[in-house]
């Protein structure tokens, strides 16, 4: 299709200017020809290239994007407006989102510092998590497809290679082949698996690596053999290329780039959690190393990769629900041992049936507990004291296989602090005492669990004190 001139009209839309003329599509800024139909936001029109020389994939991608964009909601995707008939002139009209693509950061002369990298990574992870919750995997994440708004949030673009778990995958075929952009594609996509949300986490890892070092972890392979390298190869550690990069950040990036999907972050929410809590990342040899993996290990993995196959994955939303982030609110005063014990039992039970679930232990202290002038009550000391208390509380729980972190938050509104924390960290489940946070003042403060239960964005488990304690207390002293 030839380029449209400004002022041209198509199905009631007037072309303003061409924003992008790529190999797959032309993108124009447009507006409604009839004035009163103002949608309240700027519009962009995408027209796939479909002349004789263009591949059939363009047409299928257009169909896929049309189907998926129509049903996606939320702030992390452009709003869908209209589509043209495939039999006449195919086009998609959607919200034009103001912002810079990630490519903009890559084109800057210097590399972003660690806090900026973490912010960008977190924005991507949140956007991707929102997509996965809607049962869609993007599968073509790359710097040109991630737009960052002025407020720092990310918007994902181009769903032409995406996969919706509730729709037939039009891009699938009996003889599976790699579909995606070679530099960012995940190993399982290389062998033809479509629909694993962890493929998107791999792509975020590639982009973070790229932003951090200026290099692509696996280059931009042109051949099938080159693509298969990522099935067994570890990229050079980012700190080898940029030694001042913090160990925790390398740990996070390399975990995204694990060749086996099961060893990556189980959901984008887990990734976002680590990027927003650098102090809680458990740094291993992976994060510390500054030299690449040796030939022997690579050779062994290469042999293994020859027969590598992947299990088809369940629904993305189901998959991320199975590895939730659990938040337990542990009261730090006016609380009985029985309540602390019951809370611990409830958390242990919840973790026991959810392998890989992450646990965040939180306590909310009053702002008056710390003081800037009194060194005994300095923020660091007070927080350390409460962190120790949380660790002691959690000690009896079997936390193997569960990443665990401890958090002290100062707030005068306990319920609001818990809810905000849950919202900010994509928490899937809150565990708290049914009548905690102030036993003496129960008439007044029992409203904390109720407020949390009403306002929380997720499931709330209210734990009651277990019965045996009452009975033990009532039992007559042994004669």
């Amino acid at each position: 299709m030839k380029l449209l001139e400004p002022g041209a009209e198509l199905d009631g839309f007037v072309i303003d200017d061409c924003l992008h003329a790529g190999g797959m599509a032309h993108i124009y800024r447009v507006h409604y020809a009839a004035g009163p139909r103002d949608p309240g936001f700027a519009l962009a029109m995408k027209i796939p290239r479909m002349t004789a020389g263009d591949g059939a994939e363009n047409i299928v991608s257009f169909e896929v994007e049309h189907q998926i964009l129509q049903v996606l909601t939320g702030p992390h995707v452009p709003r869908f407006v209209a589509a043209g008939d495939l039999d006449k002139i195919p086009y998609l009209v959607m919200e034009y989102v103001e912002g810079e693509t990630l490519q903009h950061w890559l084109d800057q002369p210097g590399r972003p510092d660690a806090p900026t990298l973490a912010r960008l990574g977190d924005a991507m992870a949140r956007a991707v998590h929102s997509l996965h919750k809607q049962n869609v995997c993007h599968l073509d994440l790359k710097p040109a497809n991630v737009l960052v708004r002025a407020d720092g949030s990310a918007v994902l673009l181009d769903f032409g290679l995406s996969c919706h778990a509730h729709y037939p995958d039009l891009l699938a075929e009996e003889l599976r082949k790699a579909i995606g952009s070679p530099a960012w594609i995940a190993p399982e996509q290389v062998v033809g698996v479509r629909g694993d949300p962890r493929s998107d986490i791999f792509a975020i890892g590639v982009m973070l690596y790229e932003l951090a070092t200026g290099e692509l972890p696996f280059g931009a392979p042109q051949t099938a053999g080159g693509l298969r390298q990522r099935l067994w190869m570890d990229p050079p550690p980012p700190r080898k290329l940029r030694p001042e990069l913090p160990e925790w950040l390398q740990e996070v990036i390399l975990r995204c780039l694990e060749p086996v999907a099961a060893q990556r972050y189980p959901s984008a929410a887990h990734l976002s959690f680590d990027l927003t809590h650098p102090g809680q990342v458990q740094v291993t040899e992976q994060g510390r190393k500054t030299e690449g993996t040796g030939f022997r290990i690579h050779f062994r993995r290469w042999l293994k990769a020859a027969g590598m196959h992947y299990q088809p994955s369940p629904l993305p939303s189901q998959q991320i629900d199975e590895v939730p982030i659990l938040l337990v609110a542990v009261p730090h005063k006016d609380v009985t041992d029985a309540t602390l014990y019951s809370l611990r039992q409830a958390v242990a039970r919840s973790l026991g049936i959810r392998p890989g679930a992450r646990l965040a232990c939180l306590t909310v202290i009053a702002p008056g507990d710390t003081s800037a002038s009194d060194s005994e009550k300095s923020e660091t000391r007070v927080h350390r004291r409460y962190l120790t208390m949380l660790r002691q509380w959690a000690q009896p729980i079997d936390l193997s296989g569960h990443q665990t972190s401890y958090h002290v938050i100062e707030s005068s509104d306990v319920a609001q602090a818990i809810v905000r924390y849950a919202e900010g960290n994509n928490v899937s489940m809150i565990v708290m005492g049914a009548a905690t946070h102030g036993v003496q003042m129960q008439r007044f403060l029992a409203t904390v669990p109720i407020k949390v239960a009403m306002d929380a964005p997720c499931t709330v488990i209210l734990v009651k004190q277990t019965l045996p304690f009452d009975q033990l207390a009532q039992a007559p002293a042994p004669a």
Binding site: A56, E57, Q67, L86, Y167, P168, L170, A172, E174
Partner: protein, 250 residues
């Protein structure tokens, strides 16, 4: 137009009524009953009465293998499928038997072909249960002008077959209640499941709704009083197996 597709009712009055009510509630403008109206279940006469009422108001009704067996049970043989044919035959009056005997095997309208089993030699009642058999049905249907959609029953499972980027058909397991976009420029084969005898471990009745204007197919699952349907089978003295399988959805 919203066309409600119901198949394999199998004389299950409770499931039939529940699906018809559900379809009306979600805006069905027309009904198509894709055969096996009777057999296995305890209420063949009542179900047929309901079917004939729908037909008077424009419903499409096709013949299935069990309908044929109910007309001529002597040809049914001693199979599991044929074991209730004699009893069913006895429950129906001559007018009802004549109605069943006269039913067509297929219905072609616009881009849609409706058939009980496979469009490939419909009277042979072939199962469309994998990509290959779906392909054969589609190939036979494609001999008719403009056919894009082949909808059938017979297998008691809800499955959609579609063409991806490869040459052969691909199988897709639908999620109940989710409208699936099925644009006209592609070809589709769907088995819409069974109203009266689900066999996938979920006792809820199955049917599907095709919205031709929006080019969307929605597979539905409808909870119904399967305990009453099973009790009716026991009361009628039919084999216990047919009652328990309604309770288990197997």
């Amino acid at each position: 137009m919203k066309l409600a597709l119901l198949s394999d009712i199998h004389a299950n009055l409770q499931a039939f009524d529940a699906c018809v009510a559900h379809a009306r509630a979600v805006g069905a403008e027309r009904f198509a009953l894709l055969g096996d109206l009777v057999g296995y279940g305890a209420d063949p006469a009542a179900v047929l009465a309901g079917v004939m009422q729908l037909a008077e108001k424009g419903a499409i009704v096709l013949k299935g293998n069990h309908d044929e067996m109910a007309v001529t049970p002597e040809g049914a043989g001693k199979t599991l499928g044929g074991s209730t044919a004699d009893w069913t035959h006895a429950q129906l009056d001559p007018a009802q038997r004549a109605y069943l005997a006269a039913l067509p095997l297929t219905h072609h309208e616009g881009a849609t072909l409706l058939v009980h089993a496979s469009a490939e030699d419909p009277a042979r009642w072939r199962y469309v249960d994998d990509e290959r058999s779906a392909n054969a049905s589609l190939d036979a249907a494609a001999a008719l002008p403009d056919v894009r959609y082949v909808f059938g029953g017979h297998v008691h499972f809800q499955t959609l077959f579609y063409r991806g980027t490869g040459r052969g058909l691909m199988r897709f397991a639908p999620t109940a209640g989710v409208p699936i976009p099925m644009p006209r420029h592609r070809q589709w084969v769907a088995t819409i499941g069974s109203v009266g005898q689900p066999r996938d471990g979920d006792p809820r009745a199955m049917y599907a709704m095709f919205d031709s204007a929006a080019a969307q197919l929605t597979f539905h699952r409808v909870a119904y009083d399967h305990a009453t349907a099973a009790a009716a089978i026991r009361r009628a003295g039919l084999p216990e197996y047919f009652a328990t399988r309604l309770e288990d959805g197997r």
